[in-house]
Amino acid sequence: MSARQLLGKVGLGFAVFVIVSPAILFFLWMASLSVKFEVDNAAYPPVFIPEHFAWKNYADVVASNRFLTYFRNSLVVTGAATLLAMLVGVPAGYGIARMAAHKSAVVILIARITPGLSYLIPLFLLFQWLGLLGTLWPQIIIHLVVTVPIVIWIMIGYFETTPIELEEAALIDGATRWQVFRHVALPIAKPGLAVAFILAVIFSWNNFVFGIVLAGRETRTLPVAVYNMISFDQLSWGPLAAAALIVTFPVLLLTMFAQRQIVAGLTAGAVKGG
């Protein structure tokens, strides 16, 4: 029996190794590319840990002419799109949950499955007509297409699970609906707010398709800036990999520390979808 248990343990260990290694190896290789000089990046057989570390790849990226502008653009777009989405989306999620207006949630669901590109044509024309192109506003507004449905969707699910009895008691005591929301419902919903916030930040930060159409030279966000680097210096892999790692590092860090919230948020929509 114990031999069989041992075999089971070894089998499990092997299975875990097989499943996790593609992710681990990929990110290690990404890190390796980012700290190598061109000689090592072009070496065959490939070098994993170089003799000399090229930390200057990172310095080069950060010092390159517009990197700080792009970083600031990303912060502004993601920050504004997330905060605006929380501002309108959290009350909406509450209202929809309390009215049990489940039909309206279908709109959110359809918004979730609509390809992002199909929003771009009309909104591109609208922004052009309003003369907003060249500023960050078009991107902030269009990122709401991503963040608002996420926030509403998660908050509907969350408010449905919070107890309604306390709210009824407060209403009978003469509180207004707004006071009940502000002082009773909202404090209980903090974990749900965290989930909605984190997912909205990640999906806005990662967004690429809106930026390639709407961003000009000065208004690029980091993913678009990195994409543009590919076409220009195809051959300097070190700085490119360093830039890629810088862009995605905040998200990886968030995934590591907010894993529970992310998992809860991503599975909420799926499992409750029936």
Binding site: L12, G13, A15, V16, A23, F26, L33, V88, G89, P91, A92, G95, I96, M99, A101, S104, V107, I108, I110, A111, I113, T114, P115, L117, S118, Y119, L120, I121, P122, L123, I142, L144, V145, V148, E167, E168, R177, W178, F181, I202, W205, N206, F208, V209, V224, Y227, I230, W237, L240, A241, A244, T248, L252, T255, Q259, V263, L266, T267, A270, V271
Partner: protein, 312 residues
């Protein structure tokens, strides 16, 4: 489903309880700001796109109403027809592989082992990481001369491949990236299902001397099938409209060998600035996704009924 009915009855009692005069629907003020935003940035673009699809509209030239001409163009556009074919192949592979691997990963992650939390966080990193950053590194790894993938193949005695640089291998190579990226989502959804399973069947199966495979095949798999189906559904919708990875790695190339509907739509609208025709593609693409979602939902309802039976 139970939460839904509970919420409904709870709200109903809340409205009946005060017993005062009829209240206006007072939750509306909470919803109105979001409603305005959703109308402006989600519903308006849908309607505007439909309207534009009936027009000949190129940036810089006047608009003319052309009726259904843009839609008639579609089946006669070889590039569009080809893109539909690529989308079908790409989607089929990008659903099948992550669903199989993700279900396996869910079973593994359900077991207890050291560092499970950290390993799970690492495992879900590919789907959270910035797609463009990921695509950039995969492009380097696919490089025929300097890429690490051909080196890894050489270790097991397989000759160098051209990966995304050859029309015959470009779609499978992109599917490899998509699978690597999205298997974690399938894993999470299925894992949620496994975690909710009752333990009794396993206990009695163990007493009866069933092996691990038998327990998986005859207890776990039938019970988690609805979750596998949901995962497949979400995966299908996401794979059909996959854009970032394809665009950042190949831009639809080489030639147009990996051009899916979404990538072609981008070219028509924002490279050729043929906005009317682009809108028609967007409408058809959108309709296709809605139909797909409806069919999948219908199938899911049916499997649910046959799995659980009408008593549930």
């Amino acid at each position: 489903m139970s939460t839904l009915t509970e919420a409904t009855s709870a709200t109903a009692s809340a409205e009946a309880a005060p017993g005062r005069e009829w209240r206006p629907p007072s939750y509306w003020p909470f919803v109105i700001p979001a409603l305005v935003v959703v109308l402006a940035i989600i519903v308006f673009p849908w309607l505007f796109t439909i309207w534009m699809s009936f027009n000949e509209w190129k940036v810089g030239s006047p608009t003319t109403f052309v009726g259904l001409a843009n839609y008639v163009r579609l089946p006669n556009d070889p590039r569009f027809v080809e893109a539909v074919g690529h989308t079908v192949v790409y989607t089929a592979l990008s659903v099948l592989l992550p669903v199989i691997l993700g279900t396996f990963a869910a079973v593994v992650f359900h077991a207890r082992f050291p560092f499970r939390g950290i390993l799970r966080a690492i495992f879900i990193m590919p789907m959270m990481a910035t797609p463009v950053a990921i695509a950039l590194v995969w492009t380097m790894m696919f490089h025929p001369q300097l890429g690490v993938l051909n080196y890894l193949l050489s270790l097991v005695g397989i000759g160098p491949q051209l990966w995304v640089f050859h029309p015959a291998t470009v779609i499978p190579s992109l599917v490899l990236v998509e699978t690597w990226q999205w298997t974690p989502l399938v894993m999470l959804i299925v894992l949620g299902g496994i975690a909710a399973l009752p333990t009794e069947p396993y206990e009695s199966a163990q007493i009866d001397g069933a092996g691990i495979w038998q327990m998986f095949r005859y207890i776990t798999l039938p019970l988690i099938l609805p979750f596998v189906f949901i995962a497949a559904m979400i995966r299908t919708i996401d794979a059909v409209k996959s854009f970032d990875i394809i665009f950042a790695i190949t831009q639809g190339g080489p030639g147009s060998a990996s051009e899916t509907i979404n990538v072609y739509l981008y070219s028509v609208a924002f490279v050729y600035y043929d906005l009317g025709y682009g809108s028609a593609i967007a409408v058809i693409f959108f309709a296709l996704i809605i139909v797909l979602a409806a069919v999948l939902l219908y199938l899911r309802q049916r499997t649910l009924w046959t799995e659980i039976g009408p008593g549930a």
